[in-house]
Amino acid sequence: MENYPALIVVAPFVTGLLAGLFVWIEKRLSYPIVLAGLFISSFSAVQVLIRVMESGPIQYKMGGWSPPIGIEYRIDLLNAMVLCLVSGIAFLNLIASYRSAEKEIGDRVSSYYTVYNLFLTGLLGVTITGDLFNLYVLIEITSLTSYAQVAMGDRDRGPLASLNYIFIGVIGASFYLLGVGYLYMYTGSLNMADVAVLIKGSQGSSTVLVAFILCILGIWIKMALFPFHVWLPNAYTYSPVIFARVVAPLMTKVMVYIMLRLMITVFGYDYIFNTLNLSDAVVWLATIAVLAGGVMALAQKNLKKMLTYIIVSEIGYMVGGAWMGNQLGMTGAILHILNDALMTFALFLAVGNMVYRIDRVDITDLKGLFGKMPWTMAGFVLAAFSIVGVPPTCGFFSKWYLILGAMEKGAYHFAAALIISSLICAVLFFKVFEICFFESGSHGHDHSSHGPVAIEEAPVSMLIISGLVSLSLIVAGFYSGAIVNTIILPFLK
């Protein structure tokens, strides 16, 4: 079928709206409708990926108008991969978080699903589009829905976290929009491929330079690269579990994808690395981001917040790899988009299960959790190993490519930062394991810490998804060679 590219975005969009309609007619229907939409979306994404692998990039013209007159979707290997990732994670999360959403959001949950699907429409649309302004419109949808969802979380702190997020997010989005405006003034076009052709050969233009810096800066703010990260930890910590589980793995990764798209398709390697020669400066910035994220994570007492600082550190990995200016670094960055999304998803699934049972996840609340929630903790351990970068898990392989890339360029400081941050992660997670395993739980009224602890696991639906995703970390590790050879290297050629 020719219309799979449109379905990827339209299916969650239309089902989200239908769910919003059914809230007022028959509340119970909104969940299955939303679920069906995400299923169609992920199915189409897989179909598109298969097609792109067989016969090269796909172009889809919205409204039948050819670009640059109309809006086009252009799907190559990179965004086909990211599309599968986004729609798959969204679908799995919706199944896994059904119970926790009901518990946390209560009677408003049926209208919440509308917002959830609109958020994913935004992320998918941003990933698939080949038009600079369409990308902005969908960033707007993504941001608006995430502000609303963050504010629905923690009763006391959610709204404030959301407000900070709004202020900084709006600045980021308007920087990007200004950049697109400058590009339009210079070229008269909004289509990415068309703009790329029109600005080729105008290396010294001040307009293109300002447009480039504004776009990249805007995306960095949205991505929460180190000096611009201040909104992220609170926003992700105080949002409801169902949202934290999907925003933490996907939002920053999709923004990294946009950065790559702007670098590769719109402005081009030649402009960035030869004309402007920005590689060294940005790799240093990324190095600082990696270290700063790690150090700030060490200072946290809340498990969720600690993980959000690890995300800040991981963003540094991907930015550093992408701006290394060589193929190995770029391979590492792209592979890390995939791996980091999976690892973060696995971690937040496990944390969501803990929150479902014990509500507060300060590190001291986790005592005796291995006995109480053995399956959840098994998933958590696997995900933690992957973040640290222990070999059979996928986290190791992308770090390996990143370090190789840094060595090839001679950016030893970045390689050192990667290793130090891995060590910091190891320290962090073993601190958590120690408390969970060795310190007996002090939650019960009776202090019978000698007897076997009663198992109080999360619901089965949550556990199955959590277990599957954690196992997929090892599978992704084994197949990372294949992923690099069939998706990433053909894309970069």
């Binding site: 449109a6 339209v10 709206l17 007159i69 109309g70 302004f133 608006l144």
Partner: protein, 274 residues
């Protein structure tokens, strides 16, 4: 800190000005922005879409996909307001006025209430005496505002206007009703359920038109393939498609404006407001 912020703002401004140094002159007919796609729109719009107003054609046809999501942005604002502000808890204190005498009753017990009818009427806590002039003027004005709103929506592809503008005008007529009478009058006539359904339905009309195009075998939002459904209108099929989506936008915007107003002024309780 304040000085630092000032310096940053100045530097950003200088940087933005630096970028404009290569801009074409103001209104330059040979600038890239007016030559590349803009020239195509001006030359071909009428021929291709039969819509005399080519701004509308660009907004709802050539770049109609963006506009669909812009409508979704507005819908999101509405549902966000509902999710965050709506408060279903009842009011603790009730005020009534005895219609024949004008005596005001204040009932502090939240379980007790009086039946509303000829004898007793609801009253807001911050009660303002009904202003006959305001009420009468608004009552006369509101229908005309609404007809004008419908005109703006329907005439969007001929003259400046369209769904967003028309929807806002229609929404403001409802808000005027709430201001000149009181919030309860509005909520009684236009229920929350109706507004919620309209908000989603409006965007669904837009997206549904796109899906219909998919079903008819075209690309998403390719109004041209809808021609078999409207025999005899093949020439104007694109203009007709634009009108349908404009109506959708109008409905959604009208409903969302009202939802936002009601939720914000009554702090989500839908009982009393400005």
């Amino acid at each position: 800190m304040r000085i630092l912020a000032f310096i940053v703002v100045c530097l950003t401004g200088a940087f933005l000005l630096y970028g404009t140094s290569e801009f074409p002159d103001w209104g330059d007919p040979n600038s890239p922005a007016s030559l590349h796609v803009a020239a195509y729109y001006i030359e071909k719009t009428y021929e291709e879409t039969h819509a005399p107003n080519f701004v509308t054609a660009v907004v709802t046809d050539y770049r109609g996909f963006d506009t669909m999501f812009e409508t979704a942005v507005i819908f999101t604002a509405g549902i966000g307001c509902f999710l965050l502000l709506r408060d279903f808890r009842g009011k603790k204190e009730h005020y009534y006025h005895h219609i024949p005498t004008g005596v005001i009753l204040h009932i502090k017990d939240e379980k007790k209430s009086l039946t509303i009818g000829k004898e007793f009427g609801y009253m807001d806590k911050e009660w303002v005496p009904p202003d006959l002039i305001n009420k009468t003027v608004c009552r006369i004005l509101i229908p005309f505002i609404q007809i004008y709103a419908l005109y703006v929506v329907a005439h969007g592809d001929y003259s400046p206007g369209g769904g967003f503008q028309g929807g806002v005008i229609f929404g403001s007529s409802l808000i005027l009703l709430a201001i000149s009478y009181d919030l309860k009058t509005l909520v009684k006539r236009v229920s929350e359920r109706l507004l919620g359904i309209f908000a989603a339905l409006g965007v669904l009309i837009y997206a549904g038109t796109g899906v219909l195009c998919l079903v008819m075998g075209g690309n998403f939002l390719d109004y041209g393939v809808l021609a078999p459904l409207f025999p005899g209108m093949a020439d104007h099929i694109r203009a007709l498609g634009m009108l349908v989506v404009e109506i959708g936008v109008g409905i959604a915007v009208m409903a969302v404006m009202t939802i936002i107003y009601i939720n914000i002024v009554s702090e989500g309780r839908h009982d009393e407001g400005l």
